[in-house]
Symmetry: C2
Subunit: 354 residues, 2 copies
DNA sequence: TTGAAAGCGCTAACAA
DNA sequence: TTGTTAGCGCTTTCAA
């Protein structure tokens, strides 16, 4: 690997001039500049980022910790952030916390040694404590908020989204609406739960805690919770389910299928988060869609934007809107008064539309 | 951020000793060692990776370039690689090429400045040329091979997988089997095409080039190709489709739905790559499953394993097996001799808008 | 077993 | 406009 010394030698200038010619062209005479650039090209010179960063105490590197890169929602966030970083000449270090605070801490420690210019994190329950390890590091929280004071947050309107989902079911005529909710120490789960309650209240429906089951955001949790709710004795069984995230929604759908319940005839389902399979599943799922890519993009842009700036008095709180996408997994309830259709040959592929 | 100087001062030793105490404990007297470790802990010292790497000319960093992090197959690869790197104390720089050689080159250039210890790449058509920019950098190719001489490759048996898929269809009684194949400058696409041909040949079936349509690995390509194949006039229309990757398979399924063709009654479909939605789709898809996580893991382990070693005479070629997972998207053909069922209600009118 | 000193490649004061 | 020089934080000779 050629160094700037080699370039300088070939161009017959000092290393300082070579450095300037490449990084601050306007500080150097046109002729010299050209010689240096020419030499650099000839040697295939690529500056050593490590040396530069060490000297400048500025790495142009951003740490990004997402909860689970295998979840398309988080993958899309990561892509949005990475694309944005790239546009601004930053490089992203991507880590997975797998929803485990311990892993998140490890990621932060690793990151710290690399002296990132800033950090974007989709918090776990441990984030607030962990962030105290990294004072003076500009942080943007993404998707969820940890409650750490002073950090910029980029989220969606989870309360509003959950209300829209619940209200959609209510408007279809549902009165017993179950919710499969995420961990109650994660802000999104709390907010979605709140939105669900608020929508019920507005419609003067009772909140029945027996219809609200917690999960840890995994498919399996959704499956188990749905199985429980959907096998409640008839008057108690919910006619609709609002599921708090994408993975759990898959589980809920599988549970319904397994119980031979037709969606939406026997049970309506609304999920949170849109995704490829929400569209291609049968039936295509009604969901609350989130602008995941923009979430990542904006988090990154805000982080970069506030880098130079001194600590702003009031931290920025960006909130994006969600969108209710009505597909075919929701419909009016068919309760006991309707003859229970017995042998539907599973769930025929339903019309796919958007 | 405390530096090793601070630690040294607090422990009353020179920086050299402090460094040794932390990195090579056995070179230091027990008492001194303890004092240093104690001091480091007290200060929350974390070594500056940049300075260390600059000095040692060794970054313990691995570059990873995948084709598309939004594709669960690649996401799983990335996770496998990252987990493995982590276990060995390496940090991964993850980049997306988005299947574009130009983006891949940019990623490599960025990477180069960071002096990665090694590189793992899922090649595009440009990789072979680009790798010449990075001589002396240990490289492992993943999933696909670029033909760059001397690099270790970790792939699956694409020929075998494609043969298994095709043979499965043949055994079910299909005689006209269409294939939607990937870009013919990507090794996996070539291999899968070869496997398809080989299986036909072994069964003494003609290879009909009219039944083989190319695509660029995107859902949309699969959709268009399938639409074309499935609307061929009756005697020519294939009764089964083998689709060369996961994204295109989704497109093919959507096309079949839109044409009101029942899967597998009217057309059988086998995809390459398993995934969440392959399982949850309706019908659940028969696929050739690939060990994506292990692909990533092994690529990383081989890279790390060969780091110290001088250039091995014969490059390593790891090949993993695929597995035919039979679900419900394949069945025996029902050709013209069967009465064509006209109005299958289950399929529903499927206005798939795009 | 420890310390002094050099140097990785780069950029930024400062001087010329 | 250019060059000289120092130093970012660390590890590693070399010497004691």
């Amino acid at each position: 690997m050629p160094s700037i010394q080699d370039v300088a030698k070939l161009a017959n200038v000092s290393t300082a001039t070579a450095s300037r010619a490449l990084s601050r062209p306007d500080m150097v005479a046109a002729g010299t500049r050209e010689r240096v650039v020419q030499a650099a090209q000839e040697l295939g010179y690529q500056p050593n980022v490590l040396a530069r960063s060490l000297r400048q105490k500025e790495t142009r590197t951003i740490g990004l910790i997402v909860a689970d890169i295998l979840n398309p929602f988080h993958a899309l966030i990561a892509k949005g952030a990475q694309d944005a970083a790239d546009r601004h000449g930053y490089t992203v270090f991507l880590f997975n916390s797998d929803e485990e605070p311990a892993k998140e801490l490890r990621a932060m420690e690793t990151l710290r040694g690399h002296l990132p210019t800033g950090l974007i994190v989709a918090p776990t329950s441990g984030t607030r404590a962990h962030l105290r390890t990294l004072p003076n590091l500009p942080v943007v929280e993404l998707d969820r908020v940890s409650g750490h004071p002073g950090t910029t947050t980029v989220t969606v309107d989870n309360v509003g989204g959950a209300m829209a989902a619940t209200q959609h079911l209510i408007e279809l005529g549902h009165r017993r609406i179950g919710m499969i909710v995420g961990q109650q120490d994660i802000s999104t789960a709390i907010d979605r739960h709140d939105g669900y309650r608020a929508a019920l209240k507005r419609a003067h429906l009772n909140y029945d805690s027996a219809l609200v089951l917690p999960g840890h955001h995994r498919e399996d949790d959704g499956y188990r919770a749905a199985r429980h709710l959907l096998t409640l004795p008839e008057p108690e069984r919910p006619t609709a389910l609002f599921v708090g995230n994408n993975e759990m929604t898959v589980g809920a759908v599988l549970a319904a299928r397994e119980l031979n319940l037709d969606i939406p005839h026997d049970v309506s389902i609304v999920g949170f988060d849109d995704s490829r399979w929400a569209q291609t599943m049968s039936p295509p799922l009604t969901v609350i869609a989130q602008p995941a890519y923009d979430l990542g993009r904006l988090a990154c842009e805000h982080l970069i934007g506030q880098l130079g700036v001194a600590h702003p008095a009031t931290p920025v709180r960006v909130q994006l809107q969600t969108e209710l996408v009505i597909r075919n997994s929701t419909g009016p309830p068919h309760t006991a008064d309707h003859a229970k259709r017995s042998s539907r040959p599973s769930l025929g592929p339903s019309p796919h539309s958007r």
